[in-house]
Subunit: 109 residues, 2 copies
Amino acid sequence: MGKLATEMLKGTLEGIVLAILSTRPAYGYEITAWLRDRGFADIAEGTIYALLIRVERHGLVDVEKVPSEKGPPRKVYRLNADGREYLDEFWRTWGFLTDRLEQLREGGR
Amino acid sequence: MGKLATEMLKGTLEGIVLAILSTRPAYGYEITAWLRDRGFADIAEGTIYALLIRVERHGLVDVEKVPSEKGPPRKVYRLNADGREYLDEFWRTWGFLTDRLEQLREGGR
DNA sequence: CCAACTATTCAGTGTTGCCAAGTACCGGTA
DNA sequence: TACCGGTACTTGGCAACACTGAATAGTTGG
């Protein structure tokens, strides 16, 4: 989607990934593929891995190394209590932002 | 709103300001005040000015220096044709993002 | 004259996502 | 066996953006 989307993703991509993890545990390669399927065609692989390491460092997820049948071991991430709290906060902030922008968008016509 | 909002604003703040400018010309100080009124309480002054200089450099706005009755001259920004096009693109990207997040939000309950 | 408000600029910082390359493990095929 | 493609993760360097804090400057009122 281009450079515009890149900047817009900053801050939201983290929420997106945490939201995915809130429905089920997952690992990096899986998440990347999932996102590509849903239209986030050009999200760089490295981005997701870096993001996962970051949220782990922030203590929002727990990690478990699981052997794979078809490659190196997977790092499976699971949202923990702190992560859920953070995700709630994310949705609140997101809601605030969408409200403002919705008003602006309507005002603009 | 804290650090979360700061990151989420990246990329969208530009759209917000351009959306404001699409309804009428305005200058930095005015825009900052307007945003503060609408709940963007802690947007730094310097941020808006830097953003305005950026969009000017990108050729999305035209500028006119207008004397003020109560202070130094104002730099009044006006959205031009390229700016409108860019704003359209912004709304498309924003729409895409809100759609995905809405789905995720619903899926998360 | 100085304090307060109006109005803009600028240098330095941290966070984020992107890019590109590299490592490593596995199965199938020539 | 040797190689290739798919799986899976890591890393270093880069650019863009918003924030911080301080500086500059014009105007009005006490």
